[in-house]
């Protein structure tokens, strides 16, 4: 029985993926598919939550698994704090990536890695669910099955496709999973949990931004 269910799920997965990326939609149509709770929480000043990230790299037999928490602050950026298997904080703010670990801070600007500007914009637009902004760079896809909604993104231009082939956002009441296929075909899965929309960003979180 279990094996049958698993087989049915496995068979259904590629179909569901293919169906999502069938025909691009307008930003307003995609937004209408998303639950009201998700839309409301995306409107807040900040969004906090926990994450479990798995990176499947072609060169490694096992995925790289990490977990921690994050803070997204509108107009400020994203703090991505990894707690396991190492303790490090990544701050995507403006066009820079700041990494902090054990009192050491390292800043990587868009001048050293210009792709960061695009990543920074993408992260901000994903958390704020700013579909109109995403629509400028991506073709948008969407579908809804019961309470479950999915949004697909594919770059409009080859230049961006060399860094990111596609991204998929899944959720029901809240955003639950983000899957990114990068330009090399490597997959990153991020499970999001305990999402909370915050009206005012706590002072300690605010102080962590540059």
């Amino acid at each position: 029985m279990r094996a049958g269910l698993l087989m049915a799920l496995l068979l259904a997965m590629p179909t569901a993926r293919a169906e999502l990326f069938t025909a691009p939609l307008r930003a307003a149509d995609v937004e209408a598919l998303v639950s009201a709770e998700t839309r409301a929480s995306a409107q807040g000043a900040a969004l906090t939550g926990d994450f479990v990230q798995k990176k499947f790299l072609a060169e490694l037999p096992q995925p790289l698994r990490s977990s921690g928490d994050f803070v997204y602050a509108r107009d400020r950026g994203v703090i991505w704090r990894v707690r396991q298997p190492l303790s490090a904080e990544y701050i995507l703010a403006g066009n820079a990536l700041i990494t902090r670990e054990g009192g050491i801070e390292q800043r990587l600007g868009a001048d050293a890695q210009p792709g960061l500007a695009a990543v920074s914009r993408l992260f901000a637009a994903l958390f704020a669910l700013d579909l109109e902004s995403l629509e400028r760079d991506f073709l948008l896809y969407g579908e809804r099955r019961g309470n479950h909604w999915s949004i697909g993104l594919r770059p409009r231009h080859t230049a961006l496709a060399s860094a990111l082939i596609e991204a998929r956002l899944d959720g029901s009441r809240q955003l639950e999973q983000v899957v990114i296929i990068d330009g090399r075909g490597d997959r990153t899965e991020v499970e999001l949990e305990h999402l909370q929309s915050v009206k005012v960003l706590p002072a300690d979180a605010l102080a962590r931004f540059p």
Binding site: L86, T99, Q113, P114, V119, S162
Partner: protein, 231 residues
């Protein structure tokens, strides 16, 4: 009086010499960028020279156009118009409006040489020998949420040495091109201007040189006609 006559004679001789130089020598002058040509004749390697000629010929035939506009869609539209006009001119073997993803990545030659192509700050960092700090940095890169922004795979170059080197190279290029940020993978915008790179391959090296001269000479009017929305 005799001195004046001698001076005039000398002046005429000089003018004749200059005229001869201008008519005979100047047209055949050319800049030779082949470093192998500086080797003594007995140390020259015909195989290496052939390979060098082939590589430089390949590069010499390629013309890169950067089309700029204040808005990204406008830069793209203008670049599309320019591509159409370049194709219609039949002067080029190929015109890549939107190069495929593989073409935007570092070439095999660049990739093979990546460990020798290290930017000066990285070279100094490696020479300092802080192995533990470098190991921690490599580990952080593996778990970074922005890993997919990198040009090279994180497992291949966890310290991003090749990315940094390429970025510096592009900055030098950008500095000459009205300070616009240019990146082969993801186009950047600075000073509110987007740039869209365009790669065209001429039929021959000579033709490429001639085209380039014509473009430089009539750049404004040619580009105005090719991409009117951009101007």
């Amino acid at each position: 009086m005799r001195q004046v006559a001698r001076f005039r004679l000398w002046l005429v001789a000089m003018l004749l010499l200059l005229t001869f130089f201008g008519l005979h020598t100047v047209p055949s002058l050319k800049v030779d960028s082949n470093l192998l040509a500086m080797l003594p004749v007995q140390q020259r390697d015909p195989g290496a020279e052939r390979a060098s000629r082939r590589v430089s010929d390949g590069f010499a035939r390629r013309l890169l156009f950067l089309v700029g506009a204040e808005e990204y869609p406008l830069a793209r539209t203008a670049a599309a118009e320019l591509a159409t006009n370049l194709r219609a001119s039949s002067a080029f073997d190929s015109v890549q409006f939107e190069p495929d993803a593989a073409a935007l990545r570092p070439s095999d030659a660049e990739h093979a040489a990546r460990f020798g192509l290290i930017a000066a700050p990285d070279r100094a960092r490696l020479a300092a020998g802080a192995a533990e700090a470098l190991r921690d940095e490599a580990l952080r890169a593996l778990y970074s949420p922005a890993g997919f922004a990198r040009l090279t795979a994180v497992v291949d170059d966890p310290l991003g040495l090749f990315d940094h080197q390429l970025a510096r190279h592009c900055q030098h290029l950008a500095a000459r091109l009205s300070k616009a940020a240019f990146w082969p993978s993801v186009m950047g915008a600075r000073s509110g201007c987007w740039y869209w790179p365009r790669l065209a391959t001429a039929r021959s090296r000579k033709r490429s040189r001639n085209l380039w001269r014509r473009l430089c000479g009539r750049r404004a009017s040619l580009l105005r006609r090719a991409a009117p929305k951009c101007w």
